[in-house]
């Protein structure tokens, strides 16, 4: 049994951590928070030079042909650094969607560009408030044209390639994915202000925009669910990285901040709070590792594993992001403190691809209907 990253994967993690520590400190995240740029171009350029966008793309399609566990390693580091770049949209969503359901021609056309960072892609699912489900989607496809409004679309303002979920016929359940060039006629993109300006979002309006079905037009809701499951694992690793970084920040402060003549970390009220954060992070890490295995093996357990990882990582990151501020006290509430960066990102990630309630329902649905052997047998494989 090796229920851990391999030595090579740990090496990749070290390289990623060093690169991000050097090029993507919180000062860089803050520049995006305070400025007008939708993302940090220098960090993105470095990531592209390191070929990270092509991590899980086969060499035949212009990638470097590692597996998804390597992508999980990078996701954790990007989450830890709160990287203000369109990596998740372009890699976990658009690249994955093309690999899952793209036609051979579409994959030949787009994957090399996405892997090389020449274009940025995203997937547009949500249409306003509410759970992401077929009946909530009103954007429609008819005869090569898309019409409707998607919001919020992650990196919708910077993406070149949009993959849009839309109704393909009269039936409200018949929702499929379509490819749209964001510069084409009929596409309007308006940046929107979110709780975390370090990750860009937009409203995308489609007025008879030219579109082509993803794959042979059979990328339906089951494909969307698979895509969500796969991306959820990677987002959970970003949450895990963020949660660990926030706990380190709180721990460091608790060791060095003195009150009542002693470090505040010597008080049990602080100790137990941070111990609880460690426990949540540890449970999240274990669930994430299982999900990384399920993702890389494309195992039947993926939907259950992805939901579990998402639920655990969401709880962990939301908890420590809030308690990090509490540990800091007043200084943690100032604009100058980095506490807000974790707090903002934790909620943003918690709601990306649907909130925790959706994932809990999906998890219990899967457990009620699962036909595969219980997961406890996994150890004997």
């Amino acid at each position: 049994m090796n229920f851990d990253f391999s030595d090579e994967q740990k090496l990749l993690r070290d390289v990623a951590r060093k690169f991000l520590a050097k090029r993507c400190g919180t000062n860089v995240v803050r520049q995006v928070l305070d400025g007008d740029a939708p993302f940090d171009r220098d960090v993105w350029k470095g990531i592209v030079e390191l070929e990270w966008p092509g991590t899980a793309v086969p060499e035949d399609y212009g990638g470097i042909g590692y597996g998804h566990v390597e992508l999980c390693v990078l996701a954790e580091e990007l989450g830890r650094a709160l990287a203000p770049v369109p990596f998740s949209s372009s890699v976990y969503l658009a690249t994955e969607a093309l690999q899952l359901a793209g036609s051979e021609a579409q994959r030949r056309k787009y994957l090399p560009q996405l892997a090389a960072g020449e274009i940025v892609g995203t997937v547009a699912l949500a249409e306003g408030t509410g759970a992401i489900r077929p009946s909530a989607i009103e954007t429609s496809y008819d005869n090569g044209k898309l019409r409707g409004t998607k919001t919020p679309v992650p990196d919708g303002d910077v993406a070149d390639l949009l993959i849009v979920a839309a109704r393909s016929g009269e039936s409200p359940d018949d929702v499929r994915l379509y490819l749209v060039d964001s510069t084409s006629k009929g596409v309007t993109r308006d940046s929107i202000h979110t709780i975390d300006p370090t990750r860009s979002h937009a409203t995308v309006t489609l007025q008879d925009a030219d579109a082509e079905p993803l794959g042979s037009g059979d990328a339906d809701w089951t494909v969307i669910e698979r895509l969500r499951d796969r991306a959820a694992v990677l987002l959970a690793f970003e949450q895990l990285g963020g949660a660990d970084a926030a706990l380190e920040m709180a721990t460091e402060y608790a060791k060095n901040r003195y009150a009542f003549g002693r470090p505040i970390g010597s008080f049990q009220a602080i100790k137990h709070k941070l111990a609880d954060a460690f426990i949540l992070n540890d449970l999240a890490r274990s669930n994430c590792y299982f999900a990384a295995w399920a993702l890389s093996a494309d195992a039947d357990e993926l939907p259950i594993a992805a939901a579990s990882a998402r639920i655990a990582a969401t709880e962990a990151f939301e908890y420590i992001a809030a308690e990090n501020i509490q540990t800091h006290g007043g200084i943690g509430f100032t604009w100058e403190s980095d506490c807000q960066l974790y707090y903002r990102r934790s909620k943003l990630l918690a709601l990306t691809l649907g909130g925790v309630r959706d994932w809990k329902h999906r998890l219990i649905d899967q457990l009620e209907h699962r036909t595969t052997a219980p997961l406890t047998t996994a150890g004997a494989k």
């Binding site: 090796n2 002693r262 941070l274 669930n287 998890l363 004997a380």
Partner: protein, 411 residues
């Protein structure tokens, strides 16, 4: 990131599985969940001893112990593999875990090789049962505050005082014990460690009646009990260090609280009705179920992560406390929630009248003990905060003062 055994581990797992298939029944152990303390205990102990002897003869006891101590000297992961396999079978549990998991490692480290040869084989085969005598009425979480005294007289020590919460003392043949030899020294420095014969004159064992009404906890009283100096483990005054070694082994031995779990509450939620529909369709129920599933799995996959470290020959660190903190709280939450799902009948504590044979009610009554035994919620959080996160220790008023000058309360 995989679950594959190494070829040697796979071979061992196969060996264990074949042996278990030939000697035990596969299944979930519903009675064993609540260990000993109920029913015909003597018969259960006889049964457990027979099983233990068979298991030891087959080479599944002391798997990672040195060969000189009767073990197979395999990496600790092999022990964990055997335990994983055994958990799928109904086998006697609850009699030898403390002896093998905590007493044996201390004996191997501190006893003479002659003593090891004398005692370990009997311990492994279940012929002798061992217990651990640490807690006292005035020394629970603060175990170094213990007051049981030993006084040296020539080659012997004379022991007086009282221990409490000693699991299985009433059926134990031997015990490991820490006592105070010097009340004038600061508390951690006045302690010395021994192993004792539980049948020695002057020892009186009384069962404790705890909230569930049955348990294997005991009080043990010492009245001028004589211990030979040869039974001292470690140097005079080294007792705290030896005790800490024992408690570190506890992490491997005492994994998690047992009781009603996710599977039990899911099964209940499928049959119980809320507002005319199966409870499992209720949003609030689903929300709770999801949380518990994720925690359960977090612990299970956490064990795989630990197994990975054990495979590399590492021992579990303080982070292993997570399993106990989480599982103890979860048993209590699940039990309470299961009873809520039964509505007014949730109060009925009669196996014939309520779902799951009354397991939720029994877990509800037993759960408070899990949150205290083997390191309370609070102590384990301190351990995580100080030993994993590296936060500073609390300011202590009791570290340097002579023990007999420390303030005491009235409770």
């Amino acid at each position: 990131m995989d679950f594959s055994d190494t070829p040697k581990e796979a071979e061992f797992r196969q060996e264990a599985r074949e042996w278990l298939d030939a000697n035990a029944m596969r299944g979930t152990d519903t009675t064993g969940k609540f260990h000993v303390g109920g029913g015909d205990e003597e018969a259960a102990l006889r049964n457990a001893k027979t099983w233990q002897a068979k298991k030891a003869d087959a080479g599944f006891v002391g798997v990672h112990w040195p060969k000189a101590c009767g073990g197979r000297e395999l990496p600790p992961s092999f022990t964990a593999i055997y335990q994983m396999e055994e958990s799928d079978y109904v086998v006697p549990r609850g009699f030898f875990e403390i002896g093998l998991g905590m007493c044996a490692p201390v004996m191997m480290r501190y006893a003479t090789s002659e003593q090891v040869r004398e005692h370990l084989p009997d311990m492994m085969r279940g012929e002798k049962v061992w217990c651990q005598l640490f807690s006292e009425p005035s020394a629970g979480s603060d175990v170094a505050g213990l007051r049981t005294s030993v006084r040296q007289e020539g080659d012997e020590w004379v022991l007086n005082g009282q221990k409490v919460w000693t699991s299985g003392a009433h059926f134990s043949d031997y015990g490991i014990l820490v006592a105070r030899h010097d009340p004038n020294a600061p508390k951690h420095q006045g302690l010395t460690f021994f192993f004792i014969d539980m049948k020695s004159p002057g020892i009186e064992v009384r069962r404790i009646k705890s909230i569930p009404g049955r348990s294997n906890f005991c009080e043990v009283f010492f009245n001028n009990v004589r211990i030979h100096d040869a039974q001292r483990l470690g140097e005079i005054g080294q007792g705290w260090e030896v005790a800490i070694t024992t408690l570190m082994h506890e992490r491997l031995a005492v994994g998690q609280a047992s009781g009603t779990n996710f599977d039990d509450v899911l099964a209940l939620a499928r049959t119980a009705e809320l507002d005319g529909r199966p409870a499992v369709e209720d949003s609030l129920v689903r929300d709770k179920l999801a949380d518990w599933y994720v925690r359960d799995k977090g612990l299970e996959y956490g064990r795989y992560r630990m197994l990975t470290r054990l495979s590399r020959g590492e021992m579990p660190g303080p982070e292993a406390s997570v399993g106990k903190v989480v599982s103890a709280a979860q048993v209590q939450q699940v039990a309470k929630f299961g009873m809520d799902l039964m509505g007014a009948a949730g109060i009925v504590d009669d196996a014939r009248l309520v779902p799951a044979g009354g397991a939720f009610q029994l877990s509800f009554l037993a759960a408070p003990g899990y949150r205290i035994a083997g390191g309370s919620d609070e102590i384990l959080r301190n351990v995580i905060a100080e030993r994993v996160l590296g936060l500073p220790g609390d300011i202590r008023v009791d570290k340097k003062l002579p023990f007999n000058e420390l303030p005491t309360g009235t409770a």
